[in-house]
Amino acid sequence: MSRSSTSSLAACVWIPLFPLRCEEARQDGLANYPTALLAPDTTRKLWQVSSLARHAGVKPGMTVSQAIGLCPTLRLIEPDPVHYDDCFARLLAALNEISPVIESGELGLAYVGTDGLEGIFGSPGKIIEAIKRTLEGWNVRMSEAGSTVQHSNLPTFRIGFARGKFTAWVAASRSKPDEAVIVPAGAERKFLASQPIAVLPLDTDIHRRLRQLNIRTLGALAALPEAAVTAQFGDVGKRLWRLAAGRIAEPVEGRVTLEPIVAALTFFTPVGERELLVHSLEQLIARALNHPRRIGWRVHAVRLRADLESGQMDSDVGRGAACCAPTNRSWLVNALLKDPTADAGSIAAPLKTRLEQSPPTGAVERLVLEFTAFAPGTAELQLFARDAAAAARAGQQRALRHAAREVRMRVNRATLYHVIEVQPWSRLPERRYALIDYEP
């Protein structure tokens, strides 16, 4: 359901602190205050902080109380990952107008494959100009989406151009806001040699050990024998050495992904009960699996998102802050299934785990499930799984489906419902139970 193409020349587009920039773009004046975005999985810790907040000593990962102690005027923003995801999807779509080969990294980081674009735009400088124009167009659309946002508040981007994704990323990280660094072909090693080792994808332990060895630049690392680095740091070290020496030039891998299958449920009253969310998730999975476009394909990637009830943050979070910026709130989980499957239980498992470990930080108004990537189905699996009991169940299910369809045709509307417990302990009788469509 997806096909890929590659490009060895890469333009890396990077918008640092993308989620925070999205918030600044939709809330006029927010950029003038020290701000911090709360972590999506726990509202007790900070995820991203603005430069004004950094100047006051606030750092990502701090607890809210620590941060407010350092900066009493800090503005706290609750995360809206669905919004950031949408903004990023629009950014990727905009870049797709320049090149068909687009690879996304983390939020705010995208690689544009530029092989062959010189025939359309000309030199790398001209390609960069075209990308900048596209990004400015995306910025304008962002400002139109926001209410009264000034253009100066819109996200600034950095661009790096080189052969291979890593060098392009390093170039982007070295560029100034709204500018680009172009690494000419053949100059990659020289460019990389002077860069700090922090640009490598290092864990803290390796970073500490390299600093203890007084290795502070990629050039210093590449000057060591490859075998010695491999002996010291294993396969990870070997890869790091090759990146530092410019021996690896990973191409941009573009994927053409088709539209997801979406199933959604809007609750009549915001729901915080885990059991009901799990039940609703199972309903959504069943519906999405029944979609005609899904038949014959197994699900490879799934996304669950929730619009959360807007409201005040809890007292502990808000305490001491001069202002808690009002925002839309959402919750998002992406899961890549190890083995593509059409089994509802296997699809639900990682989502349920996430619901258990880091549940939404507020009551859910709307729950949306998306199947975002697929793999071809295999008839053999169904053949071997079909034992007598399964055949009997399938027969019952067929009969039930037939009966339900007949009832629906006779009365011309859905009349079969499950009665589910919503808040059986509620003091409001109408909140205790609800009906949900029953589709056998």
């Binding site: 539209e259 299958i261 919503v422």
Partner: protein, 105 residues
Amino acid sequence: MVAPARAPLRTDRLRAVNEPRPVAVELDANGKPAAIRRSNDTGGGHGGQEETAAVVEAVLEMWRIDDEWWRKLISRRYFAVMLEGGSRVVLFEDLVTHEWFMQTA
């Protein structure tokens, strides 16, 4: 295989069970329900309505709830009553709008 289409598969709502139905309530001297009047849909799709009345034989229990002040205040005074003929229902007065509703017990 999968044609590009943004249309969601389905968007469904949960339907509440035992939703409160408006009812007119006559109170006695103590402010407790003495009789109720309510409109019943006669069906047939003509919008016909028929009013029925019932006397409250006994107030079995009464209580009050004040909740969800952080969202939209819910303030209700409930009466579990037995109507003439023996049927039991729950009546409540919405203390915000001063309207009366009935629910199954």
